[in-house]
Amino acid sequence: MTLVLDILTVVAVSAGVFFFLAGTVGLLRFPDSLSRLHALTKADNLGLGLVVLGLLPRADGPFGALKLIAVWLLAQLAGATVTQLLARAARTAEPQE
């Protein structure tokens, strides 16, 4: 059972790291602000979500696990809000045709 949980941790955290990497590559390579923001949200949602999923078996007790999930949800909410604000600022600064 421990082995299965360990494998889950390694696989999920690695997948999460992959999405962070993909988000960073997108941030560096995509042509305009809105696409770059789009790439970043993938890192926030999927990347952090998978890292949290991988860490769940290692959390101390059900409260620790709930805390991790709350961190993921709050990071998503905060990320979505900041993305909206940035996108609005970008749209006024460089009007898209």
Binding site: L77, A78, Q84, L85, R88
Partner: protein, 315 residues
């Protein structure tokens, strides 16, 4: 080499790289964004040093709130940035600036390298006297009991900073609302998020404030979250910054430092010294001060971001 060491070396290298990049960035906005990233990395450094209180403050105030203030300043400077960048300082000025920077650096490096081993510290005394305050978090005990005068002055400095910002307003808009008018476009998603986040933010802030007695947290971090929620609601067009001449607003701003001062003077009567707490009453008094300070600091920070009054009410 352990994994922790590899992580720490990588983190230190990253902090230095971002710091250098921030210094070399030619554009003000880019430099500010570099500064925010630097602050967030520094937060990780503080966590690695097991200074979670400092990490929370660095993330909330050092990186977050200061970053927003600097971004606003950068936006104001954008119109004149090209002219300012085109101005080249003379050779003498540059040499003097370089010499000053190098001597400050050399002085700091010398002090760090010459520190006695182990470094001088008051931590054992602070930990030994923690019991007299009734608190479980040594940082809160230092901030609100052993060195309460520093915290009192900090809150007064915040108020003075707000006065400084307000005094930049032209006479004709004095007493008006801060910030530009009519640029708020209400768009659905942002309004939804600005309605969803503040209740969560307020609960998190009160939690941070409450656990501050025994665990990392406290009024400053909590107040920053409250201020951020207020700013978010303003950005989404759900509410407007209040006119700066409102009596209730002035009262909220002053209440915290005033309560702190009152408790300080009470110390003369009750315990024989300024800011001394009578034995057994330290914890309730500290909680009272923190509870009074939190709304004042939150309002001050939010109004600092909102800027000087810029428009008067339509008659």
């Amino acid at each position: 080499m352990t994994l922790e060491l590899v992580f720490d070396i990588g983190l230190a290298a990253l902090v230095l790289t971002v710091a250098t990049w921030t210094l070399l960035a030619r554009e003000t906005t880019a430099a500010v964004i570099g500064f925010v990233a630097y602050g967030l990395l520094l937060t990780l450094v503080w966590v690695r040093l097991a200074a979670v209180d400092v990490a929370l403050t660095e993330a909330a105030i050092g990186s977050g709130m200061t970053g927003v203030l600097l971004l606003t300043a950068a936006a104001r400077l954008r119109a004149t940035e090209a002219v300012a960048n085109a101005e080249q300082p003379g050779a003498t000025l540059r040499v003097v600036a370089a010499l000053l920077c190098v001597s400050v650096f050399a002085g700091l490096a010398g002090i760090v390298l010459l520190l006695p081993e182990p470094g001088p510290t008051l931590a054992p005394q602070a930990a030994a006297n923690l019991g007299s305050t009734g608190l479980g978090n040594a940082v809160t005990a230092v901030l609100l009991s052993f060195r309460a005068i520093d915290t009192l002055l900090e809150t007064v400095v915040l108020l003075l900073a707000l006065l400084g910002v307000w005094s930049l307003a032209p006479d004709r808009v004095w007493g008006g609302r801060p910030g530009p008018q009519g640029n708020v476009q209400r768009d659905g998603v942002l309004v939804f998020l600005a309605q969803l986040l503040p209740p969560v933010g307020i609960v998190v802030a009160i939690h941070l404030f409450w656990v501050g007695a025994d665990a990392p947290g406290g009024k400053f971090q909590a107040a920053t979250i409250l201020a951020a929620m207020w700013i978010l609601a303003q950005q989404a067009g759900l509410t407007d910054a209040p006119p700066v001449d409102r009596r209730w607003l002035r009262l909220v701003l002053v209440a915290g430092p005033a309560a702190f001062l009152a408790v300080g003077f009470l110390g003369f009567a009750a315990a024989g010294a300024f800011l001394a707490y009578p034995a057994g009453y330290a914890k309730p008094l500290i909680l009272f001060i923190e509870a009074a300070l939190m709304p004042s600091i939150a309002a001050t920070l939010a109004l600092l971001v909102a800027g000087p009054p810029a428009r008067t009410e339509p008659p």
